[in-house]
Symmetry: D3
Subunit: 163 residues, 6 copies
Amino acid sequence: MERTAVYPGTFDPITNGHIDIIERAAQMFDWVIVALAVNSSKKTLFTQDERFALAEQSLAQFGNVRVMLCSGLIVEFARQQGAAAIVRGLRAVSDFEYELQMALMNRKMVQEINTIFLMPHERYTYLNSSIIRELARYGSPTIRDFVPAIVADALVQKMSNVE
Amino acid sequence: MERTAVYPGTFDPITNGHIDIIERAAQMFDWVIVALAVNSSKKTLFTQDERFALAEQSLAQFGNVRVMLCSGLIVEFARQQGAAAIVRGLRAVSDFEYELQMALMNRKMVQEINTIFLMPHERYTYLNSSIIRELARYGSPTIRDFVPAIVADALVQKMSNVE
Amino acid sequence: MERTAVYPGTFDPITNGHIDIIERAAQMFDWVIVALAVNSSKKTLFTQDERFALAEQSLAQFGNVRVMLCSGLIVEFARQQGAAAIVRGLRAVSDFEYELQMALMNRKMVQEINTIFLMPHERYTYLNSSIIRELARYGSPTIRDFVPAIVADALVQKMSNVE
Amino acid sequence: MERTAVYPGTFDPITNGHIDIIERAAQMFDWVIVALAVNSSKKTLFTQDERFALAEQSLAQFGNVRVMLCSGLIVEFARQQGAAAIVRGLRAVSDFEYELQMALMNRKMVQEINTIFLMPHERYTYLNSSIIRELARYGSPTIRDFVPAIVADALVQKMSNVE
Amino acid sequence: MERTAVYPGTFDPITNGHIDIIERAAQMFDWVIVALAVNSSKKTLFTQDERFALAEQSLAQFGNVRVMLCSGLIVEFARQQGAAAIVRGLRAVSDFEYELQMALMNRKMVQEINTIFLMPHERYTYLNSSIIRELARYGSPTIRDFVPAIVADALVQKMSNVE
Amino acid sequence: MERTAVYPGTFDPITNGHIDIIERAAQMFDWVIVALAVNSSKKTLFTQDERFALAEQSLAQFGNVRVMLCSGLIVEFARQQGAAAIVRGLRAVSDFEYELQMALMNRKMVQEINTIFLMPHERYTYLNSSIIRELARYGSPTIRDFVPAIVADALVQKMSNVE
């Protein structure tokens, strides 16, 4: 029996921490769908098309991973895709509480889909997209340790446009 | 490709909370091995044979779940069994920190095995084996809501022997 | 001696989780005042009049509960009402820290008023007004499990106006 | 309608932090019963009779507080006493999780009794009986800031006997 | 060898909690630089010049403390100043996680600079600039317990202008 | 002005995580005293003499670090040594709460000595002496990544004696 997992997020932009989680999920499931949230109310640095393209190019190396847009509730999207699980990364206690709350609510809506939590490599404990955007804003070369080269280039260019 | 998950624990005794997690894992993996820890230094209420028998009888309903004894490091056992993942239940923040620590250490030892975390049903948030043993000690009938009937019977008998 | 408790909040809108806490407080105190915060700086989905009306109708069943507007500091309001306590619900660790901080500050201002914390039923662990608004936005019927019928109707109508 | 609250604990020995919570409860309830746990399995510094006497003398100042022994489950004891609530002090996140778990389990057993949480004065944030026993062991005069004089004297005498 | 520490923040406005931490740092380091963040994206109550002047006047009593503006990444600023450490106050678990994340990221960027954490006096556990601004908004005299007199005066005047 | 820091612990045995913290402290203070707790009530794997010798040999590389025995309250020991600070490592939220409590109590006893918290390298997040002893018990070669060679050898030998 083939099993699919859904990994949702805003990916503004995708980081090595995300990719680390996706790689682990891709080892445990037959298919992984990276569900890029279409959320008009949340202001993002990159446009939806840019976020999609950066995610897709960064994940081209994985044969069983696919990026898709998701405009509704994640758990509904997962059901439509026939997914067995929603995958989330856990780094810290504060992640944990919010994630637990969302996972319980999602299960209340669609009982047969479980949320599973994976830990990224500890070198990504202190990594999130907002810190990456902050570093990029100040032109720190450190971003190249935390995002794929094409994402780093996109960040540099985006920041030079913003100024 | 068939995938196996290992769910380790002391199971002193097995509770509905454990069974809830095992059932979720059994939906996502082809095989689930319940690894009963052989730990001579930790004092348990039930003997190793009793814990094994109670777990096996409580899980007979699941065709792809098997109980085994594990006398060494869990992650080594998981490697020998060709497991893709170690499964752990997460209920609370204090669980989370200890589990994170163990999962990172296990990954350090055997890189290709990930720990995945699942949440039990919220009705089991307040359930653990030590509370069950406490309730049994005072003869509370509430234990029947939290353990299978054969485990409840075994607890009642054990407590009458202890006095 | 009669004792009054104050339960403050924005109630945008009132949920079954709020009502669960109010019911518990109403069993322990002679009077419970639900203090609806008048806060012009915080953008709400429902207007102040709508939030007031929904709370009042949802609480009509309790003979010793009254909804009032509160436009200043909660602890000052509680003093003016002769309250013995401020009641707050606790669901999660992140609630706990913020609540502790506010309770200590409130006590610093008015020593004789204590904050007491109550836990809602565990089925409301994953419930808050912002998740309800999110579900309503996507038209999920699940909202009817978490808010009174009149609130669910108001949410459906509000969302159809927003679009 | 008169309302009673139960405040359970081991009180080995009673500290100013406990008394602070009891005083707050005594302002909100008509009667407060301090339920001293009779627990043969837990090794205590003071005997049951000593703990009882120290608690009773330290609380003689409160007209509506009474110390009682409790040998079974707290929630059963509370029901027998016709209590409306069990009172617990909350100082820290780690308290919070354990307390939440116990409170949910207690409610499962006796639905009509709620647990309410109160915060001690912030000067007692760092106070617990085990730190007091540790300080007494090293003869630190600081204990007199944290326990009533009769408890401090009893600690000094107990420690001189232990050596 | 002389050692310098950097204490960064927005200081909108500086409070007694900040000053408590600065005083402790000034006892352990030869020099303390209070680095006032120049952050055009964050809306502050006081202008940059006002925040600078209030901090400088409130810290005039300390011979080895100096206020400076910092417009880039803190860790870069600390390196330019030849600092041995970045100092941060820790009051609560939620502080802790964010601070840990920032400290790890800062160390990744500049290895030789450590972040050290200090605890303010427990009377400042419930104090932060946003609560102070909230109290000032309602005209609470309690602010005078938590900020220097010149800051309290500035808050009163600012609030009368805002209305 | 020369400044001394005290770093207390049981060191059963000393690990690379401890050494990482000591190295950071040794960069910020003129002298670091590693205070090995003499605690007859706590059962340790290594004797006091063994723990002292392993710590001393593992720290021989640092010119300004010295190992000493401490048989009383740490904060009293720190005062006798004229220390400016007590140093503690922080890895996790559960560490944090206990540490905060001890630090506040210590400050209550000796006002002029602050506790400062440092973070070890993230590769030591999942490291503590009890995990090391557990790995050694099962003969895992992974211990050599987490303790100095002489400590690893001592662990191997100790475990062969225990069997």
